[in-house]
């Protein structure tokens, strides 16, 4: 009797496990089918950072917005595809693309050779320059920044330029977010920041006691949309859509909302 009970319990477990396993399989294949269907129906998941005003930001409600997000939406509309836009931390944004968590990155990403080894880029949708920001009238020009403490966001073209060109002449501090770098500029830990020019332009509007130092630095920095390397169709779709919104005035409309000058 006892043995029977034990055997039946074991069998019951085995059966349950088997059913569960079958269920899993069924679910998986269902999911797979669903995914395929969605892909053909044209849903694209796009990642952005959400911490880079005015290009991509998250409002109090957690809603993503900004220049990048609006461009992404305009492109999706042009491509006649439904888009889901998700937020992803900058550090993990390329690994996430490789892991197929999303299909494209529209997050003001500079097209660089290092990144090109990992991802494919569309044609640029705007051009970026770098410029130092510091307390108004604190430094006459960039030469005066030698020996000072200068900050930048880690994993950006600014941090790379800073390390390569000022690494031996100044103390370089790297931050996880641009906001943290601004915070340390304000509280006096940093003498200056090297930043992308348009977000800095935006930040300076609200922080009148700070100003640009010296001339803008042209590093031939073009901003593109990153997709997985094997996704050639998507690159072409984005490029065509980009051309379309450039010629039909949609791009200009969005540009004007954020900047009084053309940033393409």
């Amino acid at each position: 009797m006892k043995r029977n009970t034990i055997i039946s319990i074991i069998m019951a477990f085995g059966f349950a496990a088997g059913v569960a396993a079958c269920g899993d399989d069924a679910k998986k294949s269902e999911e797979k089918m669903e995914k395929k269907e969605v892909a053909t129906a044209g849903e694209i998941t796009i990642a952005t950072e959400g911490a880079y005003p005015p290009f991509n930001t998250k409002d109090a409600a957690g809603e993503l917005g900004g220049f990048d997000v609006e461009i992404a939406k305009a492109l999706c509309e042009e491509m006649k595809k439904t888009c889901k836009i998700v937020a992803q931390d900058w550090d993990g944004i390329i690994p996430g693309l490789e892991a197929k968590k999303y299909d494209a990155i529209v997050a003001s990403m500079s097209i660089t050779d290092e990144r090109k080894q990992k991802v494919a880029f569309t044609n640029p949708y705007y051009s970026n320059y770098l410029q130092f920001v510091a307390k108004k009238d604190a430094f006459a020009d960039t030469a005066a920044l030698e020996g000072k403490t200068i900050g930048a966001q880690r994993s950006t073209v600014a941090s790379k330029w800073l390390e390569d060109n000022m690494g031996s002449k100044a103390t370089v501090k790297l931050y996880d977010t641009q906001t943290a770098a601004y915070e340390d500029l304000k509280n006096g830990r940093l003498d200056a920041i090297l930043s992308d020019i348009y977000p800095a332009h935006d930040w300076l509007k609200e922080n009148g006691e700070y100003a640009f130092v010296g001339e803008k630095i042209d590093i031939d920095d073009k901003i593109g949309i990153a997709v997985r390397k094997d996704d050639k169709e998507l690159v072409k779709a984005f490029n065509d859509a980009l051309e379309a919104i450039r010629s039909n005035g949609k791009y200009e409309e969005i540009n004007k909302k954020y900047f009084p000058f053309d940033i393409f």
């Binding site: 550090d91 390329i94 690994p95 290092e114 990144r115 080894q117 990992k118 900050g151 880690r154 994993s155 950006t156 941090s159 790379k160 501090k173 790297l174 931050y175 996880d176 943290a180 915070e183 340390d184 509280n187 006096g188 830990r189």
Partner: protein, 264 residues
Amino acid sequence: MIADALKSVSEGVCSVIGPVTPDNFVQYCPRFIDGFFTTFELLAIASVLGLMVAVPMALARVSENRLLSIPAYTYIYVFRGTPLLVQLFLFYFGLAQFEAVQNSFIWPVLRDGWWVAVIVLTINTSAYVAEILRGGILGVPNGEVEAARACGMPASTRYRRVILPQAFRIAWPAYGNEVILLMKGTALASTITVLDLMGQSRTIFSRNYDLMNFVYAAVLYLMLSGLLTWSFRLFEKRLNRHTGPRKTEGSSKKPDTAKAGVPA
């Protein structure tokens, strides 16, 4: 000057291990070794200072005087009950918000992320170690304390010669654990601009987008924790050398009789 010495040391280490390590490690090897030293520095300083704070804190915690035990209890409760990352951010960004702090004598210290990391790690680990030591103190057999009292030892001698040495013996393995946890905690210093092993790995990752960087970092962390575990075990043996079987010549055949010689 110390920085220069460390730099030449890390270059020396790299030239030795260079031929036997992968190419993408060799390229950034001095950075890895430099970060390793910073991590070790943070760990060594914070664990020594933390222990120095923890001993009086543990004594206050077990004291019958409420003026001592309540503040100690609060300190331990607060710093064990909040995440290390929160403590780091509060000390680094939070304190820096106040102009009074920026103008005070302590600012030159708090200005530097490295010092903030040392202070916060010390505070955090001291709270844990105090609680570990408290357990050790309470674990000292009553009989021993009573015997010391019966001999007419005043409280200070009792603590110095009987209770604390025994408490350390009891707490030692748990303390070893805490030092390993502290080592892992140091990785969070990279969020406040400290270029420790984690900070260097992330900076290198931002240049080559190679996830292997974190494998190299993990191996270096493992080497450090291996070294710690080994030395802690060695010292544990030494601390408890009176409790093992007595070593007498030629008695290896009969360990039982040797054991019988140990007082219970």
